[in-house]
Amino acid sequence: MDELYLDNIDEYVNDHNKIVTYKWLSLTLGVHVNTAKQMLYHYLEHKRKESSPQLHATYLVSGKLEGNGQTCHHVSLVREDQLEDFKSKMSLIVSVHVYSVQKALLKDSGPLYSVDYDAVKDNLKNCSKYSSIRCTNAVPMSAAELQQFQDVQRAPPPVPESKTSVTNGNSSTASKPSSKPQKGIMGMFANKSAPKSQDNSKEVKSEQKEESSSVTEAVKSKQALKSNPVANFFGTQTKKPDKPAKKEEEVVALEQQHQRTAPEEEQEPAAMQSHKETKSDSRSKTKRTEVSDSEEEIMEKKKRRRIKRPEPDSSDEDVIPDSPPQLKTKEKSPEKEPEAVRPSHASSETKIRKRRKVLKSRTFLDDEGCIVTEKGYVSESYSETEDDFQSTKQAPHASIKAKTTSSSKDDEKKSHKKSSASSNKGTKQASIMGFFQKK
């Protein structure tokens, strides 16, 4: 190596009055740290021979030092005038090299850090490229690998969850032969609903009042938009009822129970939901005209959200401890499932909707975007379960019917009917009947 670097260092130290550390020198000149240390050492030796004006050096000393009866490995920065003194204290000296050279007499180690700060910051990504510390096993991932790794990390959680949900579903619905994971939810509701059916009916009424007021407001703003979605919805709906028909009996039974339980869950969050959903619905508005499947997906997502909120309530109640997790897993798992799988689930989903939509349709109705989904609920429930509904308790029906009518008819009517629905059940049924006749 030529001697030019001596001039370089001399310029830094004397002209710029800089503290030149080996690290800073290495980064500035782009040389290996060990080379930089040697350069500093040579520079210092050179200057000492010239007996040039004051020049101060800092040394890095590492080795064994005895203190408090223990021998520790110390790495210390030592000023030149204390170097020999410090060395004599050490029992074993591993290495000594020049750390920095500067004109100023340093009073503390602060400036030694400050001087490296900006140099390291400028080379933050590769500040160790001139370092002699290497780990051959540490190979940075390529961008593709990193992406893959991130995907893998994200993916695993849903997979185990979906498995568990299936097993839980089967166990809970052991009496029923269905193998579909969604049955698990049904089973859960069934368990729940049985002991609390009567209590729920009362609570449902109170809920309806609150919801109806909020619903009407939201709906009014978007009356004009409703007509088209309604038409689309009916077109799609007519096809669907055929599929679920096979399992009608099971579904119906579940629906009835579910209708009671669902409102109960929604009670607390209902007020909040009405506000939030208005926002979320705004997104879905644009998608109304899309294929029915896409609409279904949107609906499903919304449902999941709603289901989540009530969880704390359900856990408090008699529900089996396993059941709350089921809700979660199911909510998540469908999202992760590839699109190809969808069609198989679609049939089962329609069934679920019948149940759920009845429950949640109220809040959805409030939201403009949800109008489509609401309509779906109406048609399903009535087509499949006409007989069952009438035979079963009127309370759940009333709520459902009120909604159906409201969705199909003008907003004003909704507000009146819903409020009345909570109080009177007979009138509601009539209104529903009237609705169907129109259709």
């Binding site: 009055n17 004109k103 007499l105 602060g110 400036p111 400050s114 001087v115 700060y117 900006d118």
Partner: protein, 210 residues
């Protein structure tokens, strides 16, 4: 990219805050480096992401804070031309004058992408320069004290006399002997140019200190 004038967003206030904060750090560091006070009263603190020395003496700290509190309104109005930290010997003759010359551009323009991180880097360089300034200065005689002078623009002095920012902490006209130095030697330390302020720091040192 937004361009702000001095009237917008109290921008003068922001600049004054930044500068006074820096001046506080700088004064502490000067007192430490030039050994005006024993190093025992100083502790290591972190500012601008680097270690600096700050006095722990409550009365000294209060004095520095009060002084800068009174300087701030001047900087806000761009009335302060220089802030000088004078180190004086026992006879109250200055031996060193650390001069912070401040000038603010009439039109402040701040680009949203640079923000103020660049300013911090520049101020950090000032701090670093101050911490190694004893390499270019001679040792001070024992028993030194310090004072802070402000050189104002135009007629700002008259307003300062009328309005006391802190009660019983008035500005007075500096003695001639504190301001003028015999055979001064000029030692430039650092200068910076940024969107919000231009500043340079130099030291006037008396040739014969003892």
């Amino acid at each position: 990219m937004t361009t702000l004038t001095r009237q917008d967003l109290n921008f003068g206030q922001v600049v004054a805050d930044i500068l006074c904060e820096f001046l506080e750090v700088a004064i502490h560091l000067i007192l430490y480096v030039r050994e005006v006070y024993p190093s025992g009263i100083f502790q290591k603190r972190k500012k601008y992401n680097v270690p600096v020395q700050m006095s722990c003496h409550p009365e000294l700290n209060q004095y520095i804070q009060d002084t800068l509190h009174c300087v701030k309104p001047l900087i806000e109005k761009n009335d302060a031309e220089k802030v000088v930290v004078v180190i004086m010997d026992k006879e109250h003759h200055p031996v060193e004058r650390f001069v912070f010359e401040i000038s603010q551009p009439p039109l402040l323009s701040i680009s949203s992408e640079t923000l103020l991180s660049h300013v911090e880097q520049l101020l950090r360089a000032f701090i670093l320069k101050i911490s190694v300034c004893d390499a270019v200065l001679n040792n001070n005689p024992p028993g030194c004290s310090f004072t802070v002078l402000v050189h104002t623009r135009d007629a700002a002095t008259r307003n300062m006399e009328k309005v006391q920012v802190i009660k019983d902490f008035p500005w007075i006209v500096a003695d001639e002997q504190e301001v003028h130095m015999k055979e001064p030697r000029l030692i430039p330390l650092k200068s910076m140019t940024s969107d919000i302020v231009k500043m340079q720091l130099y030291v006037e040192e008396r040739a014969q200190k003892t």
